[in-house]
């Protein structure tokens, strides 16, 4: 396989995973928040906080991917 094709294949594979990661991170944050709210009985504050943290986690992955690509 040529070097260019290999690089393009790798990039395509990585890029195809980005969307799913953002969605899943958001939902994990939401689920964690809902669970902690039920444990500590502090509805709805922890849900909101962890939802925002989940969104941040998703976009942090995204940002890390982009900055790594920009370096290369």
């Amino acid at each position: 396989m040529k070097e260019d094709t290999r690089k393009a294949l790798k990039l395509a594979g990585l890029a195809s995973t980005l969307g799913l990661t953002i969605v899943i991170a958001t939902f994990i944050g939401l689920a964690l928040g809902l669970w902690l709210d039920r444990v500590f009985d502090t509805s709805p504050w922890l849900t909101v906080i962890f939802l925002i943290l989940g969104i941040i986690a998703g976009f942090r992955n995204f940002y890390r991917f982009m900055s790594k690509r920009a370096k290369e």
Binding site: L14, G29, G58
Partner: protein
């Protein structure tokens, strides 16, 4: 819906073992370990071991036949993985190579009539994903010692509790995204095949989808290997 014919299930039924067709009906331990995705995982493991044993029984300096094929495939996977993780990650190759073969063969096994692809069940893919993500932390601790915690702390110290929670969420998301991507692609493809069988008759209608399934099976195995070696590389590199 009618149950698909699965060879090993028929065989075990003839032997008098309790077989259930749906995992919601499996109650006893024996019924659970005779579910098709468990038995076909064993079938894949046994056939891989036998295949490799037959190939390496007589190793020659100038390879011939099966040894030739295996050498080409294995060195291609190894070179690809070392290209991602760097030279210090070469010792991780056995895990990556095993995962690559297992996932590729189980993706393709679902394509053969009468067989069942274990990756079309979320338990198999979740097992693979958990092994990979737990092992990244093991090699991180092995490689960096206690300093590995810096990977979770971010660059600014007063933000570190926040970053820690965010990183933990990110690591759980890795497990879920690895397992759900593989499971979704393979299961979705089998579901489309089943629906086409029902809608369009028994003849050549599902053939284009099967062709697509060959493509997605290879691509998903490749992406799983690529992502796991990316995660290993992330654990091996120094904290920013």
């Amino acid at each position: 819906m009618e149950h698909p014919i699965i060879f090993l299930n028929l065989l075990f039924e003839k032997l008098g073992l309790p077989i259930v067709h749906d995992f919601t009906h499996a109650h006893t331990f024996l019924e659970k370990i005779l579910l098709p995705y468990v038995t076909y995982t064993w079938l894949i493991m046994i056939s891989l071991v036998i295949l490799v044993k037959l190939t390496v029984r007589r190793i020659e300096l100038v390879p011939r036949g099966g040894q030739n094929v295996f050498e080409v495939v294995i060195s291609a996977i190894e070179e690809f993985m070392v290209g991602v993780t760097g030279e210090e990650g070469r010792y991780l190759f056995p895990l990556i190579g095993t995962l690559a073969f297992f996932i590729l063969i189980s993706n393709y096994m679902g394509m053969i009539p009468g067989f069942f692809g274990p990756t079309a069940n979320v338990n198999t893919t979740a097992a693979c994903a958990i092994i990979v993500v737990v092992y990244t932390h093991v090699i991180g601790v092995k490689f960096h010692g206690l300093k590995y915690i810096k990977h979770f702390m971010g660059p600014i110290w007063w933000l570190s509790p926040l970053i820690f929670v965010v990183e933990v969420i990110g690591h759980i998301a890795r497990i879920l995204s690895l397992s759900i991507r593989l499971f979704g692609n393979i299961f979705g493809e089998e579901l489309v095949l089943a629906i086409l069988m029902v809608l369009a008759g028994l003849y050549l209608a599902p053939l284009p989808i099967m062709f697509l399934g060959l493509f997605t099976g290879g691509v998903q195995a490749f992406i799983f290997v690529l992502l796991s070696s990316m995660y290993f590389a992330g654990a091996l590199e120094h904290a920013h």
